[in-house]
């Protein structure tokens, strides 16, 4: 890939983001502007902004990478990310807006009037936010590395710097403009190349994507290894190039027999055209035919893994701190519902694209199965399929879109994290507190990027969803629809669901993968959170907050009735 075009695209996105942000700065003056854009954003703007914020590194590069490696089971990621908004629409959108709070801890306080519930909700919101920010920074590192060969930390640092500057200068108002702009940028960046990719695939004879054979190198390919990699060879193959294989330095033609081989970092092997592609040992043995079938992804309990993912994504969306803060920018509950409906359509359109990249990657970029950099499939595919300048320009477009994805999701997370940190942890009020708080909000995940193993971006995002589904989702759903929830029950439920999910997530991340029950915890932690919250509440009826009926009026009655109970602070 010619890196110049890609670098220009990434810089253009970063500078464009900063410019749109400055435009927001000029009209963002009060604290309310800073946090929630003074609640004057129209549904279309707001929906575009939600879409822009929500389509993260996982959506832009991660999903295609997982589908490319593991097949249609991974389609549950985009389906779940979208279904999460349907659940959010049906169960929380309007009441959440009517609660009239800024952040998730504010909702906890408005509903329960208890500092303890608020504190637990704050800690969990911080944990989820950091868990979600981490893969964004990693994805940025991956993108810059794929484009330029720069070390992984450069991209992470660049995103962290741009986002911090943007968020501290403009707050939510500028972020609303930036996010809306970035949704449309991302959709363009992923859709336009798909048109050309499919046309080129047809021009090449529309080869079958599900033939009963292993993926093969379409042409002579240089495969570069950045880390020590264990590959499994399914059919004997003779490589050229130089490197260290199984501890021996090799030059020229090297025959690899069937079995496992260790290839050292820095090796550059030359694969002959038409040879079967060896695979990283974490990717299952699959011909293209079995790859295209569900439940062949290579997990030990495939059905458990799929259902755990479904529960995490369907329920977890509503518990993400940066998603929730968006609902306060709607003028009323009715607008919040309409916004969510538009979001469903925007997301549904975007998610038609990643599977196409994943499938075409099997034909045109199969060497990523050998290096294990499957997340890069979206980035490298355009220049592989389309020849010449067109391919480079499309590649640059995709790189710019991917960078927009990291920037927008990170901005949204930063706003919500800085909001929670400044109000609940540092106890600094106003705009200054918000600016001070944005520094730890970004430094913690930046530090964590040093510690984590090689977990696919979408899998790590899945862990953040699992924690949200097990802790804040029960708080929201039961808090909005049941008058029986006590403060003790709320705290117990959030801890019972959230702590195991958080621990499982941290273990998985630091170990770089592992047991499916820890890597996909939601199927047992989410029911645990719901059951404990409800059961403990029934056991402690005296701890039900006193003004619960007033709160219910505020959450559920339409605003236009002029009820005094709904008057805001």
């Amino acid at each position: 890939m010619n890196s110049t075009y890609g670098i220009v695209a990434v810089l253009a996105v970063a500078i464009g983001t900063a410019l749109v942000g400055t435009y927001g700065l000029r009209i963002s003056r009060t604290t309310s502007d800073f946090f929630v854009a003074s609640r004057t954003v129209s549904p279309w703007w707001n929906a575009s902004a939600i879409g822009g914020e929500y389509l993260s590194a996982a959506s832009f590069v991660g999903i295609a990478g997982l589908i490319f490696a593991h097949g249609p089971d991974m389609l549950w990621f985009p389906v779940g990310y979208t279904a999460g908004y349907l659940v959010l629409l049906a169960l929380v959108a309007a009441p959440l807006r009517r609660s009239g709070a800024y952040t998730l801890p504010d909702f906890a306080e408005a509903r329960f009037g208890s500092p303890a519930v608020r504190a637990v909700a704050s800690v969990l919101a911080l944990g989820i936010g950091w868990l979600y920010l981490l893969p964004q920074l990693q994805g940025a590192g991956l993108t810059l590395h794929t484009l330029t060969g720069a070390p992984d930390w450069v991209g992470a640092l660049l995103v962290a710097a741009v986002v911090t500057a943007n968020v501290t200068s403009g707050g939510m108002r500028s972020v609303t403009f930036v996010q809306a702009f970035q949704y449309w940028l991302k959709v363009t960046a992923i859709t336009v190349p798909v048109v050309f990719l499919v046309m080129a695939w047809h021009a090449h004879g529309a080869r079958d994507l599900t033939a009963p054979e292993l993926p093969v190198f379409p042409r002579e390919t240089v495969v570069t290894f950045d880390a020590d990699t264990v590959v499994h060879v399914d059919e004997p193959v003779v490589f050229g190039g130089t490197g260290v294989v199984d501890g021996r330095a090799v030059t020229g033609s090297t025959a690899l027999a069937v079995g496992d081989h260790t290839i050292a970092a820095g090796s550059r092997l030359l694969a002959p055209a038409g040879a079967a592609v060896p695979r990283v040992s974490s990717i299952p043995h699959n011909t293209n035919e079995t790859w295209a079938m569900p439940l062949r992804g290579g997990e030990s309990f495939p059905l458990y893994a799929v259902y755990s993912l479904i529960i995490a994504t369907f329920l977890g969306t509503m518990g993400l701190p940066h998603v929730i803060v968006r609902f306060y920018t709607n003028p009323n509950g009715r607008a919040a519902r309409r916004t969510t409906l538009i979001v469903l359509a925007l997301l549904g359109f975007f998610y038609l694209m990643p599977p196409i990249y994943g499938a075409l990657g099997r034909l045109y970029a199969p060497e990523l199965l050998m290096t294990g950099d499957t997340d890069a499939v979206v980035l490298v595919l355009p220049s592989r399929v389309v020849d010449g300048l067109g391919g480079h320009l499309l590649g640059a477009l995709v790189a710019g879109g991917a960078f927009a994805a990291f920037l927008s999701t990170s901005s949204g997370l930063m706003v919500s994290l800085a909001g929670v940190l400044s109000r609940d942890v540092l106890r600094l009020r106003g705009i200054r507190g918000f600016r001070v708080a944005s520094v730890p909000a970004v430094l913690v995940p930046l530090g964590m990027t040093w510690l984590v193993g090689k977990v696919p971006v979408a899998d790590m995002v899945g862990l953040a969803f699992a924690v949200a589904a097990s802790s804040l989702c029960p708080l929201l759903v039961l808090g909005i629809w049941s008058t029986r929830i006590s403060t003790v029950g709320a705290v117990a439920g959030m801890l019972a669901g959230g702590v195991p999910a958080l621990v499982a997530g941290l273990v998985t991340i630091s170990a770089g993968g592992g047991n499916v029950f820890l890597a996909r915890p939601a199927a047992w932690t989410a029911p645990l959170g719901f059951v404990v919250m409800y059961a403990v509440s029934l056991l402690t009826p005296r701890r039900v907050p006193a003004g619960v009926n007033h709160v219910m009026v505020r959450l559920h009655a339409p605003e236009n009735l002029g009820l005094r109970s709904q008057d805001r602070r």
């Binding site: 295209a292 569900p294 059905l303 799929v306 479904i310 309409r338 629809w481 559920h556």
Partner: protein, 128 residues
């Protein structure tokens, strides 16, 4: 002084409702009942919350439940998963394309129903 040639004064019953006349304001409008947390106000609110809860949970159960049944179908009936429609394997077609318009349609129906429930509630409160 009733002369013999004058007709008897008659009572005429006027049955038409007095639509033009302003209605006497009720001492307690429903919105005030709700505000003051009276028994009646609580009943109003409970009915609204219950209707919206049934609507929301029903939508989730029907749409998400049927979508979430797909992995079980693919596991128990591999022949279904191997089907091809228009050259695309069925799981890819369903999960990669068809579900998204279904979600949007379901969301649209929900928004209509939820807004209708709120409108009816508002009429109920304002009428009484």
């Amino acid at each position: 002084m009733t002369g013999p040639d004058r007709p008897h004064a008659q009572r005429v019953v006027v049955t038409s409702p007095r639509t033009r006349a302003p209605r006497a304001p009720r001492p307690y409008p429903a919105s005030r009942e709700i505000d003051e947390q009276s028994e009646l106000g609580a009943v109003y609110m409970r009915s609204l919350v219950r209707a919206q809860r049934r609507l929301g949970l029903g939508l989730c159960a029907v749409v998400c439940g049927s979508v979430a049944a797909l992995p079980l179908v693919f596991a128990l009936a591999p022949a279904v998963a191997a089907q091809r429609v228009l050259g695309v394997p069925l799981p890819w077609l369903l999960l990669g394309g068809v579900v998204f318009p279904v979600f949007v349609l379901a969301g649209w129906c929900y928004v209509r129903q939820a807004e209708r429930a709120e409108r009816e509630f508002a009429e109920l409160v304002e009428r009484s």
